[in-house]
Symmetry: C2
Subunit: 299 residues, 2 copies
């Protein structure tokens, strides 16, 4: 059921996301004429043109761009609103939009998969969505309501959001077999040597680290796989989660530079914004995550 139905806004958003009327036909399940009329009606109502279209291609106008973002936001909250009312019926319904950082599928102790299993085992009508993004990005999306919960190593915690510790992740510094350090005996590796090689840095969750972080980084990535590829190139040193680097180490491609001052741990938090929507689906999932969590230190 659609309580806060709005055909005009829905049409507009879909059209934008399909990049034109013709493709949106199938997404919306109506004919192109209907779309044409709906957009015309929307524009008549608003009093301005939201997009240029025609053979020359589809393009939002300046105002259309703003309208599109607002419309997308309101449609999301409308869906949540529907779910809130439907949940009074004692069903578990609506969207559950979860955000996580990348490279967590192999993170031991992270109860995401277990929690999902537990959650989905209940009879429900929930529409799941799982987005991968950086912690900064996830924070934004939590605030806007684009995701209901997020799991990431949040360093800067906002007062508006509530955070629960979920697990820890061990990090180490790695080089690849193409790197000069790969075959150097462990005792010859010290801070001085290390700082003479360029470091690939992550744009978030900076290690609360040593001299390493101070050396100006030439490359910045926001994605673990990207980090791995740059390390693999042999030109950079880079920090990775242990569990994530393991497969490269096993294949003999990466070497862990394992000295005492090259160990970091980042703490993963489950973040959510209560004020946004208090929905049963969201509450249950948070509960599931917490009940599966393993907060012990990583080995």
């Amino acid at each position: 059921m659609k309580l806060l139905r709005n055909t005009l806004l829905e049409t507009f958003v879909t059209v934008v996301e399909c990049g034109g009327f013709s493709d949106a036909q199938f997404a919306l399940g109506i004919t192109q004429s209907a779309i044409s009329i709906r957009i015309r009606d929307l524009e008549t109502g608003l009093g301005y043109r939201v997009c240029e279209r025609g053979r020359g291609g589809f393009r939002l106008t300046e105002r259309g761009e703003i309208a599109y973002r607002k419309a997308r936001d309101i449609l999301l909250s409308a869906r949540d609103f529907d779910a809130e009312l439907l949940e009074l019926r004692n069903a578990i319904t609506g969207d559950l939009r979860i955000g996580v950082v990348d490279a967590v599928s192999s993170l031991p102790g992270l109860p995401l998969v277990a929690a999902l299993q537990k959650f989905l085992a209940r009879p429900n009508e929930v529409q799941l969505e799982l987005v991968i993004a950086s912690p900064t990005d996830l924070t934004q999306r939590l605030i806007s309501g684009e995701v209901h919960v997020a799991i990431a190593p949040f360093r800067h915690q906002l007062p508006d959001l509530s955070y629960t510790e979920v697990c820890k992740e061990a990090h180490r510094l790695y080089c690849s077999d193409q790197h000069p350090l790969f075959n150097l005996p462990a005792e010859e590796i010290d801070a001085g040597i290390l700082s003479s090689y360029p470091l690939c840095q992550r744009s978030y969750d900076m290690m609360a680290s040593t001299d390493l972080a101070k050396s100006k980084a030439q490359v910045v990535v926001a994605n673990m796989e990207a980090m791995a590829m740059l390390i693999e190139s042999g030109h950079y040193l880079g920090a990775l989660p242990k569990h994530f680097a393991q497969s490269w180490v096993d294949k003999g491609i990466f070497r862990e530079l394992n000295s005492d001052d090259l160990r970091w741990t980042s703490t993963f938090y489950l973040a959510s914004r209560q004020s946004k929507a208090h929905r049963r689906a969201v509450e249950l999932f948070i509960q599931d995550i917490c009940s599966c969590a393993d907060k012990s230190d990583p080995k």
Copy 2:
């Protein structure tokens, strides 16, 4: 124009506020049958009954109560959303919902009327709403978006809201001509005498005062007119804004107990919540208020 139209929710909310279908006919401009059908459709969609009705009277169910509050909230934000999109057209539209405390019409320096004149002088399509409520109540309504701006002597300021000083208000203690103190020479009036008479206290904006506040109040009011009536009864002393009490003083009904330690000043703030909706109408009005404000101390 109605972008986020929803007939079902609108019908529901109106019906609740009219206390039944029959009255809601006129409010909604449709027949009673249509309402009956809409409510049936709403209930079918939700899967639960929202209200009991019939000859025995109209009553929301428990779930209906929750649904009603949520629906009312969402309809308000839907109106604001509409206004946001319409304002891209460069018109000033939508609701402007203003909250103030009572007894401010005679407050010198408060630029409300002047600001309203300035605001309304512009060509606009704004739907004004002016609600009178206590500061506590106004804070709640600001947060919920029920009002866009509020003017009151806010003592406890929330981090979520932004406050701008607007003007000051002088307060004095009064008694009426029915009161034993009315004819007592000024020099005989001291704290001791005063504390022997019952005080009518205000439930908000407590004077940062002296011994007076400490004496247990027997009566508490949240409204200046109520305060005036109780003072007029001759049983109570009470604090009032000078400007407000003036007409009683002029008529010889009230006497101002004017000693040095019986003078208070409260500061009025304009409060708003930016995050809620940033709308041109709201911004303009805030600007108008500020440009008219007179922040000097009251005589």
